[in-house]
Every structure is written in C-alpha cells, then in structure tokens.
C-alpha cells in the first residue's frame, strides 16, 4: 500500500494543477510596458507604436512618465508570451502625466 502512496500523491498534484491553472486568460494580464522609442526620432510613427517589440515589460504597477506629451508606454496590457504587450487585447496608453 505504502508503495503506491507516491503515485497517489503524483495523481493528486496533477489534479490540483488542472484545477488551479488558468490557461489562456492568465497571460500576465495587467502588465505595464515602457515604450522604448519615447523621446526618440520616429516615436510617433504608427508602425513603431504598434510594434510590440518596441515595448519592455516593467511590472504590473502604474507607469510614471516625464518629458514630452507622447506615448511613454502601455498599462493593463496582456503579455504575448514573449515579454511584449499583446495589442490584440485591451490596453491603456500612457502619456506624460
């Protein structure tokens, strides 16, 4: 009986993981990203603004921007699985405070 206890615990853990993992909806929602081209030439080009590769993850807290009135980042975004915002989901644009 004791021999099979380890296997029972494995089954229990697999069941627990199946119930507690939020698959696709849990993709780091509520993430904030700074815009890498903020204050740089070409910062307002729509191709640059809409390119997720131009954004860097900084956490889940609100962004604090200074400088010119341009996009400095996005908040409440969902991660695309590669450390960049998924622009097909909802997000909030952040400009200078």
């Amino acid at each position: 009986m004791k021999k099979y206890l380890g296997i029972f615990v494995v089954m229990l853990a697999i069941t627990a993981s199946a119930f507690t993992v939020n698959h696709k909806d849990a993709k780091l929602a509520g993430s904030s990203y700074t815009y890498n081209l903020y204050g740089q030439p070409g910062q307002n080009n729509s191709s640059n603004l809409n390119n997720p590769a131009n954004y860097t993850f900084v956490g889940t807290s609100s962004l604090s921007c200074s400088g010119s009135i341009n996009r400095c980042g996005v908040e409440d975004a969902t991660d695309d699985g590669f450390g960049h915002p998924d622009f097909t989901k909802s997000y909030t644009i952040r400009v200078r405070n």
Partner: protein, 153 residues
C-alpha cells in the same frame, strides 16, 4: 513511537511533500509554458537562456519526482531536490536584492506568494530536505557499525 519510526515517518512526509510540490509546479510550468517562458524573458540575468531554462526546469522537476517515487532512487531524489531548491533560493535572493521589477516565474498558486514569502517557503523546504538527508545518513552509519562489530542489536 520509537525515534527511528518517527524519523522514517518524517522522511516519508518530506518525500511526499516534495513529490506533490515538484509534480504540481512541473506540470503547471509545462501547461502554462508561454507564461513561464515570458516571465524568464523578463528576468535580465537568465533571459538569454529562456527557451532552454523554461523546458529544462519542469523536466528536471518531473525527473526528481520519478526518483522520489521509487525508493531505490529516493536518496538521489532528495539530493537533486536540495540542489534545485538551493538554485531557486539563490535566484530569488539575487532578484530581491538587485532587480527593481520582479516578474514571477513560479507555477500555479505559488505565484500568489510574494518574493519574500517565496524565499521563506523555499528555505523551509530546504531545511526539511536537509533534515531528511542527515537523518538517513545517520541511520545508515548506525547499521554499518553494528554490522562490522557483529554484535547482536
């Protein structure tokens, strides 16, 4: 309850705790692989190896589970568990001390823990593994002495 029985009981409990922990986190990391990989990519010190790490850690965790389930390899399972938990703890300590933005690379409900609580949890698990390993070695030594001395126990 005899002391030896108590030690065996405590070792078994630690073993089942580790089996549960590593199965749970390993499976979670594989199911949510994109999130796990993404959180590694956000970590400046290991982001260059994100693909390798995001696959090797859950596979290593599940290999440890296999070792712990079979009594023949349990001692090795405890040793590898200790090494892996020590590596996690060093990483968490580094992140807490030097990185301002902390992404969570943990699996399932463990990501609800703060980084400081995670450090405490890991330290507690390391302590349990150390106690198990030391008590097993002590027990082995006791048997060896009695065998060589050929005196009835």
């Amino acid at each position: 309850m005899k002391k030896t029985e108590l030690i065996n009981y405590s070792n078994s409990l630690t073993c089942y705790l580790l089996i549960f922990l590593f199965t749970y986190t390993g499976i979670t990391k594989l199911i949510d692989h994109s999130i796990f990989k993404s959180s590694i990519l956000q970590s400046s010190i290991i982001s260059n190896y994100a693909t390798v790490i995001s696959l090797s850690i859950p596979l290593l965790e599940l290999s440890i589970v296999v070792m712990l389930v079979f009594e023949k390899y349990r001692q090795k399972g405890f040793l590898f568990s200790l090494l892996l938990m020590a590596a996690f703890t060093i990483y968490i300590t580094y992140m807490i001390l030097f990185i301002p933005h902390l992404p969570c690379s943990c699996g399932g409900i463990l990501k609800e823990l703060s980084w400081s609580n995670h450090l405490l949890f890991n330290s507690f698990v390391i302590l349990l593994i150390l106690v198990s390993l030391l008590s097993q070695n002590k027990h082995k030594l006791f048997i060896a002495i009695n065998r060589t001395s050929r005196k009835p126990v």
